[in-house]
């Protein structure tokens, strides 16, 4: 130390900083250690850490709204949810285009389900509207067909909308396919994807947009040739809206073929009988008249949302900020509390039952304690499902325990105790399952307490109790701490046992997570609940690591 003067870093004999030459000398050693660790680290990162990160990501992910309703979310940006008024016809039109595409891709029910987590009723609104959306714009379709019969023919639309280059490509592809069929060869080249004609989107923005969507869906989802498919009714709606807006000069800028079709249509639209989109929607489901529906879409239009986390703590996001969940839907705080309560109860029961056993084991002669230790290790090594099924057999109303109680007359046959499918069942079974995790750390700590301390205390005049309580017990506290945290960590995330013996009142948050994954399909909420649970467990893990050191876990 005396060489470490105040003149900055230590230098080696040749003047290089000591740290650097040390590092150079250690590099090989570090590298070798890391080479040994690396395969496993990579393995765990890929098979374990990445999946968990990926799942947690779902708790904030919300692309589905903006992916499914891109036009609507954009159009809704200007809408003031506090105005109490419904959005404009432009928004309804945007929603129509989005919904018809979503319904074709069968995405709208999933979106409805997603939004239903936030505002009840949305699922049904989207389903019902999805069934009708094909018809929106039918009025215009009919009127166009009357004014310009050309527009009823799919081919006309391709002429107006499609890039001539694409048409050529498509024709070439069709020819190649026909040739392949003739020779019996396999042909799996996908058709060239629809391309819009240059400039048409400037003049007919909505119609071009919706038609392009239509053409691509026809190709990709159904494998059809757009030139042979009749466009959706909403395409006519879009055309009507475009033509109502464009000036007479705009049509002139189109190519000849398109002009021939659209000019008469343009002249005719002014005389069309129009219909309010809002009325169509309200007719499909009167829910569309509720501003709450729209503000939910608006509130959840961003790609990431705190919504699931809010829902996990019985809050919800509204356009006006965060609010409490409706009273009859608040269950998660209660579930978290119950999980904590039951974990604590299990932990407490484990201390009560584990301490005497560990004490006995630690203070018996080694030969006897080794034999008794096997009685602790046997449950530890026995399949969890075996132990759970035992408890099912034992705790049932017609089970062994009730039989015994009835037989010795403690319980009347008609009033057998209900010990399963409730909290009692879960706590008893899990105490049994986790008890070895309390006994083993306690035992390993108690074994290191030399008997001389208690002897010294007794020689100094302490009674048995005082010697135990003042001298022995304090030294066993680290074992209690280790056992408690271990049992608590394991208990709080338990799934199997509560699922099998817990009924409805004896289940944990884990069971709710599983429910949301496999039954209600609310994966985002499952991920958010999982994140919270994981955070609690990691906190405890950190504490455990601090107190005990994770590599000091004893496994019997």
């Amino acid at each position: 130390m005396s060489d470490a003067t105040s003149t900055g870093p230590m230098l080696a004999a040749d003047g290089t900083p000591l740290k650097r030459s040390l590092n150079r000398a250690l590099r090989a050693q570090k590298l070798r250690a890391l080479m040994l660790i690396a395969p496993l680290l990579v393995f765990i990162l890929v098979t374990f850490i990445a999946p968990i990160t990926d799942m947690l990501f779902r708790s904030v992910e919300n692309q589905i709204v903006s992916d499914t309703l891109p036009r609507t979310t954009r159009a809704l940006e200007g809408w003031d949810h506090n105005s109490g008024e419904l959005p404009s016809e432009d928004v309804f039109a945007a929603l129509t285009y989005d919904l018809v595409a979503a319904a074709e891709r069968k995405d709208h029910t999933r979106l409805g389900t997603r939004l239903n987590y936030e505002t009840t009723g949305m699922s049904s609104i989207f389903r019902k509207t999805g069934r009708r959306i094909d018809d929106f714009g039918e009025t215009y379709m009919d009127q166009f067909a009357e004014a310009t019969p050309d527009l009823a023919a799919p081919e006309t639309w391709v002429t107006v909308m499609a890039d001539p280059g694409w048409r050529a490509d498509y024709a070439a592809w069709e020819a190649a396919r026909a040739a392949a069929r003739e020779t019996g060869r396999d042909f799996d080249r996908p058709p060239p994807l629809f391309r819009l004609k240059n400039g048409v989107a400037d003049i007919l923005p909505e119609a071009a947009d919706v038609y392009a969507e239509f053409a691509r869906i026809a190709q990709v989802e159904n494998g059809d040739n757009p030139a042979e498919e009749e466009p959706w009714a909403p395409v006519y709606l879009a055309l009507y809206r475009d033509l109502m807006h464009v000036g007479p000069g705009a049509i002139e800028r189109l190519d000849d073929a398109s002009r021939a079709t659209l000019a008469p249509a343009h002249d005719a639209v002014a005389g069309f009988q129009s219909e309010r989109l809002a009325d169509l929607y309200l007719d499909a489901d009167k829910g569309w008249g509720e501003p709450a529906i729209w503000s939910t879409i608006q509130a959840f239009s961003s790609n990431y949302t705190p919504g699931y986390f809010l829902a996990s703590v019985d809050l919800r996001q509204t356009a006006d900020g965060v609010a409490m969940q409706d009273e009859d839907r608040r269950i998660y705080i209660m579930l978290f509390e119950r999980t904590l309560f039951m974990s604590l109860a299990i932990m407490g029961a484990c201390i009560l039952l584990g301490y005497p056993i560990a004490f006995l084991l630690a203070n018996l002669p080694l030969r006897t304690s080794n034999v008794l230790l096997i009685l602790v290790l046997l449950p530890f090594w026995t399949s969890l499902l075996v132990r759970t099924s035992s408890w099912k057999v034992l705790l049932q109303q017609q089970g062994v325990i009730n039989d015994v109680l009835v037989w010795i007359g403690l319980v009347d046959n008609a009033n057998r105790l209900v010990m399963i499918n409730n909290q009692f069942g879960t706590i008893v079974a899990m105490t049994h399952i986790l008890l070895p995790f309390m006994i083993l750390p306690l035992y390993s700590v108690m074994k290191t307490i030399p008997p001389t301390y208690v002897r010294a205390a007794k020689s100094l005049g302490a009674s048995n109790w005082t010697a135990f309580w003042r001298v022995y017990f304090p030294q066993s506290v680290p074992g209690i701490g280790a056992g408690c945290i271990l049992v608590f960590i394991l208990a709080i995330g338990y799934y199997i046992t509560p699922e099998l013996v817990g009924g409805t009142t004896g289940t944990f948050i884990s069971n709710r997570i599983a429910y949301h994954i496999s039954s209600s399909l609310n994966w985002g909420l499952a991920a958010a609940l999982g994140s919270i649970l994981l955070a609690v467990v990691l906190l405890l893990y950190w504490i455990y690591d601090r107190i005990v050191g994770i590599d000091n876990v004893s496994l019997g």
């Binding site: 069968k106 995405d107 009840t120 699922s123 389903r127 009924g503 409805t504 496999s518 209600s520």
Partner: protein, 375 residues
């Protein structure tokens, strides 16, 4: 294994009328040689294996892997489709789930008249199946119903026996634990029926916010006495163990409990709820697997095969043309017709699940019900 082979061999030998030989079955070209089928487990899955899979295997050598995941079919199919890795070939689902799978594009739309066999009376499949074809993805198999079973030896009932559904809510006369499904469907309908709502008004009442609360309030009266089930085998098991005194489950499960296992349990047909159960094919199957599945379905849903299933379980075939062929139980030799939910004796009071209403409201009602359950 030997036991089962023996059974299936005798089953095949015993039915000259419906017997098929390999040459009767059109060959399957470009077909996978195995099928992963998803069903509900228990007696129902066994009946499918006996009536469809084993004869099919005998004819074609196709191997079957059974997954008892129908409960979670929607979730698992959604995850598989998200991943683009469909591991299932054929999924047995209830009507509403098929609706959902179809709506989300997870199940393949089929042309029933094209892929299914005509009835043996020559009727077109869509006519033969008629109402049971509830959507474009659903290939019906059976009509089943959810009914109640009760123990006949409950001393606390003083010799009374329930004769109608509302005994469920009568804890005075019929004390003891109940077993009900851990889902709102059927439970809330029954609750309203026993709360005095007429059958025709059920879904109108349920469509109002108060309707659902009214149903839950009725269920509240027996909530503390109810054990909730999520698998159809739980109620029969609990009835047999004496864990519960009455409970709802599928009529076929009760049939095997009462008739095959001779337990002191009786069936209450009052307000049984009809449902359809059938196959859906996951969307976007590879061609060879799809071919195999279609080949199998053509065989497994023909008139004889659907009638055969009723030898093993008391569910009604979904084809009209199969009804007259329903005969006796394969092992017990008893007439199956009286045990069918469609038997006129059994359907004095009955409900048919309103699939559309449930498709629209499932998410809402489910969420509210689960919250109610947890509270």
């Amino acid at each position: 294994m030997t036991m089962k082979q023996l059974l299936s061999a005798t089953a095949l030998a015993a039915l000259p009328a419906g017997a098929l030989f390999a040459q009767d079955l059109p060959p399957c070209e470009n077909c996978a040689d195995s099928i992963t089928a998803v069903s509900w487990g228990g007696a129902y899955q066994t009946s499918q294996i006996k009536a469809y899979a084993e004869p099919y295997t005998a004819l074609t050598g196709t191997t079957f892997t059974w997954d008892e995941s129908s409960n979670e079919a929607v979730a698992k199919l959604r995850a598989q489709s998200e991943a683009g890795n469909i591991t299932w070939d054929l999924v047995d689902v209830e009507g509403p789930d098929s609706q959902r799978l179809c709506d989300e594009g997870l199940a393949m739309e089929v042309d029933h008249d094209e892929i299914l066999a005509a009835g043996d009376d020559g009727s077109a499949p869509t006519d033969d199946f008629s109402d049971s074809v509830i959507n474009d993805c659903f290939i019906p198999q059976i009509v089943f119903s959810t009914t109640f079973g009760y123990r006949t030896d409950v001393s606390a009932w003083n010799g009374n026996e329930p004769d109608n559904l509302c005994a469920l809510f009568d804890l005075e006369t019929f004390p003891g634990k109940r077993s009900l499904e851990k889902r709102p469907k059927k439970n809330i309908e029954w609750a309203l029926l026993c709360d005095g709502v007429a059958k025709d008004e059920l879904y109108d009442v349920l469509s109002t916010p108060e309707g659902l609360e009214r149903a839950l309030a009725k269920l509240d009266t027996i909530k503390s006495e109810t054990i909730w089930w999520s698998a159809g085998a739980e109620t029969p098991q609990r009835l047999a163990d004496g864990e519960v005194v009455m409970g709802s489950t599928y009529n076929g499960r009760l049939f095997s409990l009462i008739v095959e296992q001779n337990q002191p349990v009786k069936m209450l047909w009052d307000w049984q709820v009809f449902d359809f159960d059938g196959w859906v094919i996951p969307a976007d199957l590879p061609e060879d697997r799809l071919n195999r599945v279609l080949h199998f379905l053509h065989f497994a849903t023909d008139t004889q095969r659907l009638a055969d299933q009723a030898k093993y379980i008391s569910y009604g075939p979904a084809r009209a043309s199969s009804q007259p062929l329903v005969s006796t139980h394969a092992d017990l030799g008893i007439e199956m017709a009286p045990h069918m939910p469609t038997n006129p004796e059994n359907q004095k009071n009955y409900l048919v699940n309103n699939i559309e209403w449930w498709a629209d409201n499932q998410d809402d009602v489910e969420a509210r019900f689960q919250a109610w359950l947890a509270q």
